[in-house]
């Protein structure tokens, strides 16, 4: 029985809807119109840009129920509530009469759907407002026509249109059919609502649309998909990146009850974008049988060129590289001379390991390939990307591929890579039936696109007064580009722009270098990406300088940030990447950085007395064009056990839509940040990942979480462009925590995870 209850908008669904739904869903050509906003964003430089056509996103049924399409993937950020909420607010709809439907992958129709980079609100706030305003205008136009009065005499409010002069009212359901006949207004003529009249935006009063289903266990994730006649598959993948199958013996696997077939899965030599790693698939009548069948396989592997990858040895290589000059990626002033003349030089070496995404729902996809067409149900962050890759892999047109997006049980960047979807597609084609490919936790940990490993080395030169006059930061880490280009050894501009070359400090001599680093496994983007190691290194270093000079951490931080100003990083940074946004709209603003420090210090009572064994740490970071500062209070007992009584975070993400979701993301980032700082580490031995499951790749348990997490959102005017909220909470957490640990114990943490380092404190 088909049990996928996520309300996806498949082509068939829309066609069916045409027959029963009067209103704004009509067989209209897709209209893609450029947005007009008070500020510019990088939205229209993204593949397929933005779409603001109300006929694409809104339909109204005769009973007044409005269906709004959410084109972005829901993985816990609340995006499929927030974007429709913007539309509803602008069109004066009552939220209790709004239904949200998930769009399939179709960027020509909906605009860019890559749900990553903390971009959804900042790229779609204005287009979604325009969708809502257009729909409202069409409803008003229809009412005016019905009453034969000038449109200036009617006004939409509370899900109906009112004739101001007579008080007559028509509900949206009554007007739907006529409204659909109205021309879509020119975007330049649209009257957007005054922000003071917003009913939902900025209020935080609307719960997420999936809340009831999630909390009652009814929510349908990718893992819950069932299709008639579906087969279940697990795959034994090469244990070493770049490895391949030499031979396999399926005899014992085929004896397992429920196992139907054993098939070799095609893989390509690494790097191969998001293509499957290859391996041997066991097809069965249920997942358990498939897993047991896989356990019974006998496989001979060729481990390929990465068979000797050892992360302990590689750490030494990275650290050595960080002690030698590397490619200069930013250069202001004369660092060498300034360091030589400095009264004091402080050197900090920091190490951060590979990390696994470990989303609670492991990768999973269900595919049905038949008659030259493919249909997929999967928790993907990039449905159009998956669609394109499926088409290319099968050699069919993208028009013949449907990607239905389920809820994602976590993503963190892992589900932007569609290798698990391609596995399902290839197996469905081979088997001739729908196939669900299920990754186990072990598969997830062993075959992830791991977060990069990095060594960060900072030398700070101080003058006699303790002022920082020189800063040299070498960052050595395998690049994500190695997943697409053999031999890529330098970080790409987008990685360098995450906390390295965009350093917002008021220091006359700054040099950033990027020595070479080879990749020996698949590297992928992970929530906050390179901001994690950079924030850890930079913010720990600031605390080290404060300690060395007898200064307060916060005062040191404000001094080194310098006065409120727009930061000029100078002409030596090539292809500066400002999170894909125009610097004119999103400059590096030291004033905003200072203000989140000051806000968190005020709200978090920086400097307050704490009990013995407790300490306070602070860190600030700009990422995804947002500004965020965190104070952590930690308690460390005599055995090195740490607890976190309180966390305070201040975030400035510009104009915001859903403060309740921002709070949720920052709270979640504190828990994730704690997990990663305390335990997060993927290590390699003989090319193989050492950890298997959550016993090895641990996550913080509920009793370890911060007892109180306070989130303070910086108010901003409507003209301040929106910026990211999903990822920025993570980078400052670990350095704030480790700075607090130093304050509590005198033990400086320079290498993550913290692990057992405190047991000798």
């Amino acid at each position: 029985m088909f049990q996928n209850r996520i309300e996806n908008v498949s082509r068939r669904g829309v066609l069916r809807g045409l027959g029963v739904t009067a209103g704004l869903v009509l067989a209209v050509p897709v209209m893609s119109r450029r947005s007009v906003a008070a500020y510019s964003t990088g939205a229209d430089k993204m593949p397929h840009g933005t779409v603001n056509d109300p006929k694409v996103f809104v339909s109204i049924a005769p009973d007044g129920v409005i269906t709004i399409i959410a084109a972005r993937s829901e993985m816990g950020t609340g995006v499929r509530t927030s974007l429709p909420m913007i539309v509803a607010d602008e069109m004066e709809a009552n939220w209790d009469k709004v239904k949200v439907q998930q769009a399939p992958g179709d960027e020509v129709k909906y605009g860019n759907q890559d749900t990553d980079g903390s971009r959804s609100t900042r790229h779609f706030l204005i287009p979604m407002r325009q969708v809502g305003a257009s729909a409202r205008t069409m409803l008003e136009g229809a009412a005016a026509k019905r009453w034969n009065v000038p449109v200036s005499e009617v006004k939409a409010a509370n899900h109906e249109v009112i004739h101001v002069g007579t008080g007559q009212k028509l509900g949206y359901g009554e007007l739907a059919e006529d409204a659909a006949l109205q021309p879509v207004p020119d975007v330049a003529t649209l009257r957007l609502k005054d922000p003071k009249d917003f009913r939902y935006m900025g209020k935080g009063q609307i719960g997420i649309v999936d809340l009831h289903d999630i909390t009652t266990g009814k929510a349908m994730y990718g893992i819950d998909t069932r299709l008639p006649g579906m087969k279940y598959a697990v795959i034994a993948r090469p244990p070493v990146t770049g490895g391949k199958v030499v031979s396999f013996d399926p005899t014992e696997a085929l004896k397992v009850s429920g196992v139907e077939q054993v098939i070799q899965v095609q893989g390509w030599p690494w790097p191969s974008k998001f293509q499957p790693l290859g391996g041997v698939a066991v097809i069965a009548r249920n997942t358990g049988a498939a897993i047991k069948g896989r356990d019974a396989l006998k496989i001979v592997w060729d481990d390929g060129p990465n068979a000797s990858y050892d992360s302990v040895a590689y750490r030494r290589e990275l650290e050595e590289a960080s002690r030698k000059p590397g490619e200069v990626v930013r250069n202001n002033g004369d660092v060498d001379t300034a360091l030589k003349s400095a009264a004091k030089v402080i050197v900090g070496e920091y190490y951060l390991p590979h990390l696994a995404h470990a989303s609670m729902e492991t990768p999973v996809a269900t595919a049905h390939v038949a008659d030259g067409k493919a249909e997929v149900w999967a928790p993907v962050q990039s449905p159009q990307g998956a669609r394109d890759d499926i088409a290319k892999t099968l050699g069919i047109s993208a028009e013949n591929v449907t990607v239905n997006v389920t809820l994602l049980g976590g993503g963190f960047g892992r589900k932007s890579k569609c290798d698990f979807v391609l596995e399902a597609v290839l197996l469905s084609k081979a088997v001739g039936a729908p196939v669900k490919v299920q990754w186990t936790r072990e598969d997830d940990i062993h075959n992830d696109f791991v977060h990069t490993v990095s060594a960060e080395r900072i030398e700070a030169g101080l003058d006699k007064s303790g002022k920082v006059i020189a800063w040299r930061h070498r960052s050595v880490a395998p690049t994500i580009m190695s997943t697409f280009a053999a031999g890529a050894k330098h970080q790409a501009p987008f990685e360098l722009g995450m906390g390295l070359v965009d350093l917002p400090f008021d220091i006359p001599n700054i040099r950033c270098e990027n020595p070479e680093a080879a990749a020996y496994t698949r590297i992928g983007w992970f929530r906050s990406v390179s901001n994690i190691p950079r924030a850890f290194a930079v913010q720990t270093m600031v605390a080290e300088i404060a300690h060395a000079t007898g200064r307060d951490q916060k005062e040191m931080l404000l001094e080194i940030i310098g006065p409120a100003r727009i930061v000029d990083i100078g002409p030596t940074v090539k292809d500066f990447w400002d999170y894909g946004e125009p610097v004119s709209s999103y400059p590096i603003d030291a004033g905003r950085l200072r203000r989140v420090v000051e806000l968190v210090a005020e709200k978090g009572q920086w400097g307050r007395q704490v009990p013995k064994g407790h300490g306070l740490g602070i860190a600030v970071h700009r990422s995804f064009v947002s500004y965020i500062a965190t104070i952590v209070e930690v308690s460390v007992d005599g055995k090195g056990k740490l607890t976190i009584p309180r966390v305070d975070t201040a975030i400035d993400c510009g104009t915001f839509v859903n403060p309740e979701r921002i709070q949720s993301q920052v709270e979640g980032a504190a828990i994730m940040g704690l997990s990663l700082a305390k335990y997060g580490e993927v290590t390699f031995k003989n090319g193989r990942v050492v950890q298997n499951n959550f016993d090895g790749f641990k996550l913080a348990r509920i009793d370890e979480g911060p007892m109180v997490t306070n989130v303070h959102i910086m108010p901003s005017g409507p003209d301040v462009p929106p910026s990211g909220a999903g990822e920025p909470g993570l980078p400052p957490f670990a350095p704030a925590l480790c700075n607090a640990i130093f304050a509590a114990t005198g033990k400086r943490i320079r290498s993550l995870p913290i692990g057992k380092q405190l047991q000798s404190a």
């Binding site: 030599p269 356990d295 001979v300 592997w301 060729d302 060129p305 068979a307 190695s482 053999a486 080879a518």
Partner: protein, 80 residues
């Protein structure tokens, strides 16, 4: 009273015997879900990757090569 105690005792015995069977079963298959029980690796035909030797294959399938270069260009333009 005696009857209910007897029922309780029988139920407990069944429960514990059932648990024992499940526990034995789990012990007998400690590696369930960990992948193939028998895996071997043969010496690789590929030279070992080093910091100076290019890692990864350059002789890709044409389609995959195109996908790689398209993604590289996309990421260079848009970031992650």
């Amino acid at each position: 009273m005696k009857k209910s105690l007897l029922t309780f005792g029988l139920a407990a015995a069944l429960l514990f015997s059932g648990r024992a069977v499940l526990a034995d079963d789990a012990v007998s298959k400690p590696h369930i879900g960990n992948g193939p029980a028998v895996e071997k690796s043969v010496p690789s035909s590929a030279p070992a990757a080093t910091t100076t030797r290019t890692t990864g294959a350059t002789d890709q399938d044409k389609t995959v090569k195109g996908m790689n270069s398209n993604e590289k260009a996309k990421i260079e333009a848009n970031g992650k």
